[in-house]
């Protein structure tokens, strides 16, 4: 599939995607977790973000969208999504983080003209642990950090083509 839309295919066109990416995640947290996200006043440390959820994009835009957070944040997300105590939500946290990443990816692509029908999403994959390296044919990368209950969540879009 060719990238017919210059705003999708050119790096310059992607520069304006950062606020859209942020908005996509903020909407998911507000609607599904009833919890607004905050923009950190200064860049927070990303140490301890040991849960990584990934969704692949293929078509007019090829790449990977990742959401990284701590295990504590993941359990809190599951707790809010399910409406149960954090202790009871623990076993569901991987599923919850995967669904959040899936919804952010879908919400994002539906906001970019031409991507809705021109880009497919993979099912989410969740990695536990921070001691890994991800090697992909990255052409450009957009990252934003937002705070959920005061804890950082890193949202990254790696674009391959």
């Amino acid at each position: 599939m060719n990238a017919a839309n210059p705003a999708i295919s050119s790096t310059a066109g992607r520069e304006c995607w950062l606020p859209t990416l942020q908005l996509s995640m903020q909407e998911v947290f507000e609607l599904m977790l009833a919890c607004p996200l905050q923009v950190p006043p200064e860049p927070p440390s990303l140490e301890g973000l040991d849960i990584t959820s990934m969704v692949g994009l293929a078509g007019q835009l090829c790449g990977i969208l990742t959401v990284r957070c701590s295990a504590k944040s993941a359990a809190r997300m599951a707790s809010r999504m399910l409406g149960v105590d954090v202790e009871k939500a623990g076993p569901e946290m991987w599923d919850a983080v995967g669904e959040i990443c899936n919804m952010v990816a879908g919400n994002f692509k539906n906001k970019i003209s031409g991507l809705g029908d021109g880009c497919m999403l993979s099912v989410p994959t969740v990695i536990t642990g921070g001691d890994y390296s991800l090697h992909s044919m990255v052409n450009s990368e957009i990252q934003t950090i937002l705070l959920f209950d005061g804890e950082p969540i890193a949202l990254t879009l790696e674009v391959h083509s």
Partner: protein, 128 residues
Amino acid sequence: MENIVTLIVDDSSVMRKIVERSLRQAGLGISQVLEAGNGMEALAAVQQNKVDLILCDINMPVMDGLEFVKQLPAIEKAKGVPVVMITTEGSEGHVVQALSAGAKGYIRKPFTPEQVKEHVLPLLGGKQ
């Protein structure tokens, strides 16, 4: 309100629970909720149970939601049962594809309980 038996089809158990909670919050008279993790399980559930409403994801392993909707009319018990798609695939093309396949409604994730009510209530007709 009459008792409404609902089938929720999604490969995410978290999402199935969220959809169920949204239905209950909407006060739609849901008496029983059945769950399925993909289209194949959903077809089996419909063959074994009398269902009044189906809420179904699109992207699922084994059998996706569009294939499920296409195969549903072949089941006698399922004739006339409305299916509402709930999915992240929210583009116009996907909506047209789902409605053409036989779905009666389409809800984009993320969603609110109010949106679920807005889409589901008109489909329940005499059941409400």
